[in-house]
Subunit: 140 residues, 2 copies
């Protein structure tokens, strides 16, 4: 079963899309770490997330690999290890996810989502104040 393998795998396969693949929740946690500060080594990413999520290094490694495969992050060699940095901007990710939710659940309209948040008391006073401020700004 353990097939001897000496070939070097292409890390650079599909050049097609860069940010198109869906990012899972666990992967997202890794992305957050990288968005907060980058580039980071795998060990540094682990420092940021392993405790919080109860993960071990291998898990982080896997997630990093998958993110690289998905084109969400890039690696650059730093001596013998890699530094990871995001390719996908946090803004783009948030925007995409938000839009997906709004499209899927609220027919693409943001107002019903807002109404729901309000209803379920997911809106703090601060939120409301902030949103009013944003609205005024939009009005300009």
């Amino acid at each position: 079963m353990i097939v001897g393998e000496s070939e070097m795998a292409e890390v650079n396969d599909l050049p097609g899309e860069q940010g198109s693949e869906r990012i899972s929740e666990a992967e997202h946690a890794v992305m957050e770490a990288l968005w907060e500060k980058n580039p980071l080594t795998a060990a540094e990413v682990c420092e940021q997330v392993c405790d919080r999520r109860g993960w071990s290094m291998p898990t982080v490694k896997t997630l990093l690999s998958r993110l690289v495969a998905k084109g969400a992050i890039a690696t650059e060699p730093d001596g013998r290890r890699f530094l990871y940095r995001p390719l996908l901007a946090r803004t783009a990710y948030l925007g995409g996810e938000s839009r997906r939710l709004v499209d899927r659940l609220f027919g693409g309209r943001a107002a019903p989502l807002f109404a729901h948040l309000a209803e379920t008391e997911a809106l703090t006073d601060d939120d409301i104040a902030e949103i009013e401020r944003l609205l005024r700004e939009l009005r300009k």
Copy 2:
């Protein structure tokens, strides 16, 4: 107002939570059909969604079974077949999903989500007007 259905879940609650299991996207499509009109037979659900999603009856059957297993819908025998009706209210589902998104991506604060929608021009004028109206209502 969006104040939704009552909850009439009680018949057979698994030991644990009742609406707690996550509902997948495909399952959600089935739920939408049932929320729109219920109770429905499996065949009727299929009529509602199979074309739109390119599904076959077996697929719908599977999804219905899984939804039953998750406690999101209930069956009642109608002759030899079953009628399906939602146990999980649409309102609750939407609220839950919205909150999940807000928690996961925006640190539980709705304002940043709102800011994002605004920024990415995902807010129509109608949305803005509607939200202002909702805000005024909240202020009361």
